[in-house]
Amino acid sequence: MSITGIEAASQDAAASEGALDADAAKIEGRSQWQLTWRRLRQDKVAMAALAVIVVIILLAILAPVFVSITHHPPNIAYPNTGEDAAGNPVGPMTNGFWLGTDGTGRDLFIRILYGARISLFVGFVTTGIGAVAGVAVGLMAGYFGGFIDTVLARFTDAVLAFPYVVLALALAVVLGPSLTVIIGVISFFSWAAIARIVRGQTLSIKEKEYIEAARSLGAGSFRIMFFDILPNLLAPVLVLATLYIPTAIVFEATLSYLGLGIQPPTASWGDILADAQNFFQTSWWYVVFPALALLITTLAFNLLGDGVRDAMDPRTERVLAAGRGRRKRRGKRQVLADGQAGLAPAAPYVPPAEGS
């Protein structure tokens, strides 16, 4: 058996290295996040959604600036300029009210901006809590297995099976409606879906050889969970979280709409919509603008979530390039619900040719 010397071997390696070095500037240190971002930038719909979200966040942050421009604080009623002779709201661009006024003569535009603050805050905070809790529960259930898994997985199933609006209403009634209670209730329902996906992923990842390698090096359970398994979970969790934000926003609006969420006079989209019902026939703007705000926000987050999921999955590259990404995408969403498509690409990713 003839075996070449190590010199030949290292020369060989050096030669292939040299070929790689030509691409080194492009390839070096490009992480999955950079690759994802590159692909996401090619997705026009996702980028538009991202722009819309940035604008909404900016509007929410800059709400006090608009107050100083319009001189209409959110909770002050203007019976003289803000209502017509019959006591109804005035329409858009009347008396300095850009989007008109609400039923008590307050500036609708300013109230929608302040409502956006509540919605975004609740959306991000509850999703954040849900993601952390879901990952923790799913990781522990999947990694440790056995009794811990049985308890945690059944608890997750129980939470998922709960009629959550009913429980949320009951809790809100018992504890009294407040921002804290709303965040608590929405968070409580947000972690279970993430936990289930994370558990499934953990079950498959922990059988990988690199986990055994870590164990043979002497790594402890927590090191394996956080350094070896968690990085493989971030992609599906990020997608799920992005897609959960709009759900949380709608959930908050629902509770507020039912009068069990944010309490007046604090502005909230659900609360504004509930009040607007009485002026349905006389003041179209009162319903349309807060509803549009809710629609645009949730749509933008959903489209961004779709885009992020596609960008995380290298296989969609060709689909996007062919320009028929949207259609393909819908089928995949079902798969994600089953906990498959969110899987981080384990196969080696071949960087696309420049300009594809």
């Binding site: 075996i3 390839i27 050889e209 390698a213 493989n232």
Partner: protein, 360 residues
């Protein structure tokens, strides 16, 4: 050889006085329970993955462990590495009994026993950079941090033939051979005494196999490593091993120094394996009598009685099904050449022609 490498993880105990064997397995047994039943799990059987195996590996040498898929090679490796608990028997490493140690007690041993895995694709975490993967041993055992760790990792990369500038790359950016070098660097990081190579080259191209094998033998020479080398490729094992053990269905069929085992195999199974290995020289290949075994490997849940090989053995007789042959040296062999067979193959015997005289 770089000095810092040598100082990386050699704060170990002095050599044991008890002989020159780094690893000794005494009657090692590993059974996996087979469970069935819905609510109440009952154990309905045992997979006898490793059954009563005794082996020893002299310090600084390589033991090649061959056997077909399912013969228990990898299970044996994992028992030695302490990754799975042993059912019974003892694992003696460097004079210490490391059988079924607790995780904490095993920790210092982990620095001295490392593994190289079969699949260079699944044994490296695709989400972590090469620097972090090779630096893991330092991080876990807290032997180097920050810039010092990076320096040591880059030295390791250089040592195994990787470009240290690729420190920040991901495993996916490397070829199979390069990835296996990463695995070698990771195993080498703590300067272990024993490296268990679980089919380290069977996933690689033949041309790459030679490079990795040469790297392994260079490292053995430079650092005095001891290898437990598992493979199913007989030529690879012949190239790297000082001694060889052949496993069949969880038992050792034959073991001994490389050359006697290869030139005059005594166990019919070894003879059959050797006759089936492809030969590079077409004349040799044509002249050779191939021993064709019939039937499949029996289930390790319910292994055959007596000699486990007897249902497929061309030389089997009634006694083979009743009495279990002991692993012992046969007349005319060197004392370390052991075989477990009632009717060992004689020199010049034509097994291919031998019929099964008495089916059992």
């Amino acid at each position: 050889m770089s000095e810092p490498l040598a100082s990386a993880g050699t704060a170990s105990t002095p050599a044991d006085p008890a002989g020159d064997d780094l690893v000794r397995l005494e009657n090692l047994v590993k059974y996996f329970p087979v469970r069935a039943g819905g609510l109440v799990r009952r154990t309905v059987g045992q997979v006898q993955a490793v059954d009563d195996v005794s082996l020893s590996i002299p310090r600084g040498q390589t033991l090649g462990l061959v056997g077909e898929t399912g013969s228990g090679k990898s299970t044996l490796a994992r028992c030695v590495a302490g990754l799975i608990p042993v059912t019974s028997g003892r694992v003696i490493f460097d004079g210490r009994d490391i059988t079924n140690l607790s995780r904490g007690a095993m920790r210092p041993i982990r620095r001295e026993v490392q593994m190289i895995f079969q699949d260079p694709y699944s044994s490296l975490n695709p989400r972590r950079r090469v620097g972090a993967i090779i630096g893991d041993p330092f991080a876990i055992h807290k032997t180097a941090t920050g810039g010092e760790r990076k320096r040591q990792v880059q030295e390791l990369m250089e040592r195994v033939g990787l470009n240290p500038e690729h420190y920040n790359r991901f495993p996916a950016e490397f070829s199979g051979g390069q990835r296996q070098r990463i695995g070698v660097a990771r195993a080498l990081a703590l300067r272990p005494k024993l490296i268990i190579c679980d089919e380290p080259v069977s996933a690689l191209d033949v041309s790459i196999q030679a490079q990795v094998l040469n790297l392994l033998s260079d490292l053995q020479r430079d650092y005095g490593l001891t290898y437990l080398f598992i493979a199913h490729d007989l030529e690879v094992v012949r190239h790297v091993s000082d001694s060889v053990a052949v496993m069949y269905l969880g038992r050792i069929g034959e073991s001994g120094p490389r050359d006697p085992v290869y030139t005059s195999p005594r166990h019919p199974y070894t003879a059959a394996l050797l006759s089936a290995a492809p030969a590079a020289d077409p004349d040799t290949a044509a002249a050779r009598q191939r021993i064709v075994l019939t039937g499949d490997v029996p289930s390790p849940i319910d292994p055959p009685s007596g000699c486990r090989f007897h249902p497929r053995c061309p030389k089997a007789e009634a006694v083979c099904g009743q009495q279990e042959p002991q692993l012992e040296a046969k007349a005319g062999d060197v004392a370390t050449h052991l075989v477990a067979c009632h009717f060992p193959v004689q020199a010049g015997e034509n097994l291919a022609a031998a019929g099964r005289s008495e089916p059992t």
